[in-house]
Symmetry: C2
Subunit: 429 residues, 2 copies
């Protein structure tokens, strides 16, 4: 029987979930996997909060000093659930340098410091598991590392932020505007008081950076990811999208084109009949394209105490079974990054113009689009009694640069009253 002595650092929502699972299931894990998972020390700033659950473990030590855990020779594996990028970096690097195994859910840290973390793990011949860092309970890290090991990932497309997916879903199904939906998300605990990290797309960008690094073996710095959030999405665009047979989702994508990696986070329109479009509310999903297996989709809970804890404990069991067995390192190599500067993929675009309702407006818009090589597929202008009029254009496939150039001209015109809206149609998912 193998024994793994665990140091848990950070006993908040997810940490408590981990303790709950370990207290209830350790006996079964021992029987099924032949591994005894012993909680040795819990490091938390609020020991009183975890007093009830910590009593379920015999001889567990409680401390508020992570240095009692990191590098402690009595502890084999650290579970880092502190979050953030300051103290957690010291914890993770310190543990790896002491040849402790590290399990973490920290997407910000991995996204920003992944290179040095993986290098430290490799130099010290130990391992780091981070399934919980992307998509909560969705097993996408393991899928890339093992299940698609014999394949070649071409692209990963993720709905990776529950807050924004909840907001966009409620805007559609309840007819709420952005602010109302955000308020509902906050009331339900799906959005923070300051939601900017989520709604501006940063959280999704962190996750896309981690997935892209794994899939393509290249460091994808956050500043190389084009990031656009959902704050400008209106109820009107969601209704127009629905009429056109689409649904707006905040999509994080990372794909390899002509040897270059493209990474973006943007609201896009996905055809409603696509399974990806039926991922609603706080649910997360990753859609992948590969050279051989063809497209695949994994859907599940992206956050929450027990879903995230489930991924943490599964990692714990997986890496415990590998510990000290001198296995080849799981790949975390970074050749030099080669990040694509701009999106060169052609796509159709939805464009919405808020214009004066006067003769010649549509002609002017059409002319500016045509000048930049943007060809129009369909136009919709609802009869309106009062100004302004909303003109919706769906284009034929074109590159993003043509759209930007067109909108630059059109928005400078006096007949356009608000910045125009452009959303990519993901017809080829």
């Amino acid at each position: 029987m193998q024994t793994i002595r665990i140091g848990l650092i950070g006993a908040g929502t997810v940490g408590s979930g981990v303790l709950k699972i370990l207290s209830e299931e350790s006996a079964r894990f021992e029987k099924e996997y032949g591994i005894s998972l012993n909680v040795h020390t819990i490091c938390t700033r609020t020991p009183s909060k975890i007093a009830p659950i910590s009593k379920l473990f015999s001889k567990v030590k409680i401390t508020d000093d992570y240095k009692q855990v990191v590098g402690n020779p009595e502890i084999d594996t650290i579970i880092e659930l502190v979050g953030g990028t300051t103290i957690s970096e010291e914890i993770v690097l310190g543990a790896l340098q002491s040849k402790q195994t590290v399990i973490t859910a920290n997407k910000a840290l991995l996204s920003e410091k992944g290179e040095v973390i993986y290098k430290t793990a490799e130099e010290n011949q130990t391992e780091i598991g981070f399934e919980a860092s992307v998509g909560g309970s969705i097993p996408i890290i393991r899928a890339i590392r093992n299940c698609l090991a014999g394949d070649k990932v071409l692209g990963l497309y993720g709905i990776l932020n529950g807050t924004t997916n909840f907001i966009l879903s409620k805007m559609e199904t309840e007819g709420l505007d952005y602010k109302e939906a955000l308020k509902l998300a906050q009331e339900k605990g799906f959005a923070e008081a300051d939601p900017s990290f989520d709604v501006e797309g940063i959280d999704t960008a962190h996750k896309i950076s981690i997935l892209g690094s794994l899939a393509f073996g290249e460091k994808i710095p956050l500043q190389n990811i084009v990031v656009e959030g959902i704050t400008k999405i209106t109820r009107l665009d969601i209704a127009f999208a629905s009429d056109l047979g689409y649904r707006i989702k905040l999509l994080g994508l990372v794909r390899k084109l002509d040897g270059k990696v493209e990474a973006r986070v943007q609201p896009v329109m996905i055809p409603k009949h696509h399974a990806f479009a039926s991922v609603m509310n706080e649910t997360n999903a990753v859609y992948y394209k590969t050279a051989f297996a063809g497209p695949g989709l994994i859907v599940g809970k992206g956050a929450g105490a027990l879903p995230t804890a489930s991924a943490v404990v599964s990692d714990l069991i997986y890496y415990s079974s590998r510990r000290g067995k001198n296995l080849p390192m799981e790949r975390n190599r970074f050749p030099k990054a080669s990040i694509s500067e701009a999106n060169q993929t052609e796509a159709r675009y939805y464009l919405r113009f808020n214009t004066l309702d006067q003769p010649g407006v549509l002609a002017e818009i059409a002319k500016d689009l045509g000048t930049n090589g943007v060809s129009i597929s369909s136009v919709r202008q609802n009869e309106s009694e009062k100004e302004p009029a909303e003109v919706v254009v769906v284009t034929h496939p074109c590159v993003e640069a043509s759209i930007s150039a067109s909108l630059g001209r059109i928005d400078a015109s006096e007949v356009v009253l608000e910045p125009s809206v452009a959303i990519r149609l993901e017809d080829k998912l």
Copy 2:
């Protein structure tokens, strides 16, 4: 650098796919995983067919005698792609007894002989990988074994047969009847000349038996699985289902209830808004419920040369990295089976009665249902100029036994012209 010498037995569609991937990607695998995958011997009944691709491997031996491969001390790992349950059993058991690693896509063999196969692997301290046996490229085996290792699977629900899903999809989207859709499937290569194995649900039952064994650690003999195919599904039922907001799918399920395992393969109705219902045509999917992670869904290609080969090669890399490392066995244990005799779960049912269009028919049906404790939620009887009339009843939740008892009485009545149809509504997925 670790070197794995491979013996491939069976070089048909999937085998050729494996050879194609290995010929194109082995250099990359070597660089990324530090494992050199050398094809040592190819065993095939038709060497001429694989001559072009076998030339891509240096020093490969071609044979039509599997005994040149099984137990050959120059070969570390056998890839068994013969299929069936006769010769393949000798191959798999022989290889395991010789401590060779086995990778297989053989669902029939694992379903029927899994117990002795896993035991033989354990006794010889070697391993068997079979990701490709269920759901082609869908990584459901790895998900259960690793990604949900720290969780507890409560139920697995699969659309696991591309042929039947294609037929049901085309019946709905093209308005075909069963025979027309089957013919189309055969023309497109999605159905065999003799499709009974697929359309009668046997193939799905094999896969459900494998998944259930993995998830619950119990042997699930084929004869303990209630199996019903799709041959009795009519265009009419599909249209009624659609009107009611449902889609008919051949569902394989295995779940644990009150300590007993229930395993079934049946056409059921799934709410259209559920992501599971948007799995169309030859695509496969597995939906899972667990104690902690909450529900998850994995969708992908369930068959085809390259998707299946992708799973085989991914297994090959995974088990190659583990070979000879004295790792704890992956769980394939079978405590005593405890299979539920009948479905005790309550569900709503769709019932269709083909009746004489005369007064009192509905009253008689309602009475027989009521007598058996089946309560009616809604009734639909279209006006018809000519007999017979179709009466569609949706019930409130009840157990299957009540439905069977009711239909027994109703079908014995003179006013009912054809055996009545009962399809479970999976409202709680």
